[in-house]
Symmetry: C2
Subunit: 342 residues, 2 copies
Amino acid sequence: MLQNNLLIQAAMGQPTSRTPVWLMRQAGRILKEYRQVREKAGSFINLVKNPELAAEVTIQPVDILGVDAAIIFSDILVIPEAMGLPYEMEERKGPVFPSVIQSKSDVENLRIAEAHDLHYVLDAIRITKKELNNRVPLIGFAGAPFTLLAYMVEGGGSKTFSKAKKLLYTHPEIAHALLEKITQSTINYLKGQVEAGANLVQVFDSWAGILSPEQYQEFSLAYIEKICKAIPEVPKTVFAKGAFFARERMNSLSCQVVGLDWNMDIEESKKMLSNKVLQGNLDPCALYGSYDAVKKETINMLNQFGKHTHIANLGHGLYPDTDPDKVRCFIDTVKEYSVTLH
Amino acid sequence: MLQNNLLIQAAMGQPTSRTPVWLMRQAGRILKEYRQVREKAGSFINLVKNPELAAEVTIQPVDILGVDAAIIFSDILVIPEAMGLPYEMEERKGPVFPSVIQSKSDVENLRIAEAHDLHYVLDAIRITKKELNNRVPLIGFAGAPFTLLAYMVEGGGSKTFSKAKKLLYTHPEIAHALLEKITQSTINYLKGQVEAGANLVQVFDSWAGILSPEQYQEFSLAYIEKICKAIPEVPKTVFAKGAFFARERMNSLSCQVVGLDWNMDIEESKKMLSNKVLQGNLDPCALYGSYDAVKKETINMLNQFGKHTHIANLGHGLYPDTDPDKVRCFIDTVKEYSVTLH
């Protein structure tokens, strides 16, 4: 059905003619076309909640950059909001939760989100699928339960997330009750995304790196595994930024693909994650280099992944001041050079 | 000479009756006695520049908490200032540099700091040594050249340090020229600290974790090695937060001690760093737990280090809202329990 099915084939470990490529945060501030739509929407959250506009920015990088997949334009914090904990997006500061989770009763007052609570995302997926017209696959996504807990307890971004981590040390039972509710909500949400047409789903554990190895297993990986098991219909990618220490354990997760950040040595990761397709992992800052440097770094990355099934991407989201022409250079280099590895 | 010489003995790999213990940021906001002196000084930078008051807060944790070492109260950013790039400390925001390094001529305009440019730190060390009266050793310190570059180019703290990293990708020759000047300044400074009485020096590479393994070797470790080699008089500790990927390489650094953060698995680190004394690595958030939990986590950590020569510490600086009684519980547990391991 899909005209370009490279991403799904690679995710399923099937042979492909070349390495598929997409970029985390490919729909966003690097594109002037995005900024125009964002301005029309009035605010980031308005854009997330407007299915037509969200679909439009989702498709932009397919048309403009030539990536092998679209990823639905949305935000991981739609789940806390659907559970009854709304957030605001402050310019230059990021997300802020006016109320935070502090007690057992705060957790009890949250609802488990149902797919229809996120109807605006599901509508955006349906519109995107229709407009993509099977050109490339569409990726759905959600935040990992621990990353959502971190925001819901801390109240916003933080260097240390010490309030969120304090909860794990002082009231682990409240943390687990919250993680369970988030997990159920996320399963409902991702099932809805798959029904609406998502061809693969990615779980983003953005704050994985703040936990110790033991805590990461207990408070994060156990819930990610529940989510992966509950969504058998499509391939799943888990990207746990900073969780270098969990790679061996992630080799037995019920997902097909594991994302690497640029700190993670590729050779070592191939050994630790021998059962998994690997995604990543160019440093987003490498795209600040000259065209020659971008090509060289991209080829170097491709050679290191070598014959291991690989989905080319960055090791983190694109930074907003990246030149779209350098992004195109990255994508074109993957498309051209990776043929020699297949 | 030193009545309690446990830290230096352990750092030199000599047998000790128990594990020595101190804490990163032990002199600071957790102590009401510190906050009183800080208020008297008027500002953080005033406190850093006042040798008598800096000595006073340096000694407080020895008296109040019972740690096995003092660490001179100062700031890693005194070096950029001494090189001609002053900074301000904004409440709740951290350090801000009104001017930043952007070009070759910006680097050329910086001077190489001499020890006497940092006379206020050296005076603080001399006063501290006199007042400590050989009760415990005094630790001197400096920031690693890459971490200082990160602030000097970025202009302040950042989640991604993308401006600083952009320089590495676009103008590596400017980055190296800057790193060389910082390294020479740091060597002069640490030599001055040792002459003034520091018994051990620690190099803090706070932003090590933002680099790829290859970049870390080129832009950070090479300069740390130069510093270690230039200070043969005292034992040296290198703490590279987030540089899990560099542990094998750090095993051949010219330092005696390597600090671990709480993400780094202890068993794995003992193997990778078999030549080194290890320092760390309790999660600072573990001190938010109950007394029983603090004891349990501390004993668990001590057992994991086992017979490997170990300096007990946290895996990061103390967080300001930590209860000093919990810190004392950590220290007392190390002192009591570690006897059984020696």
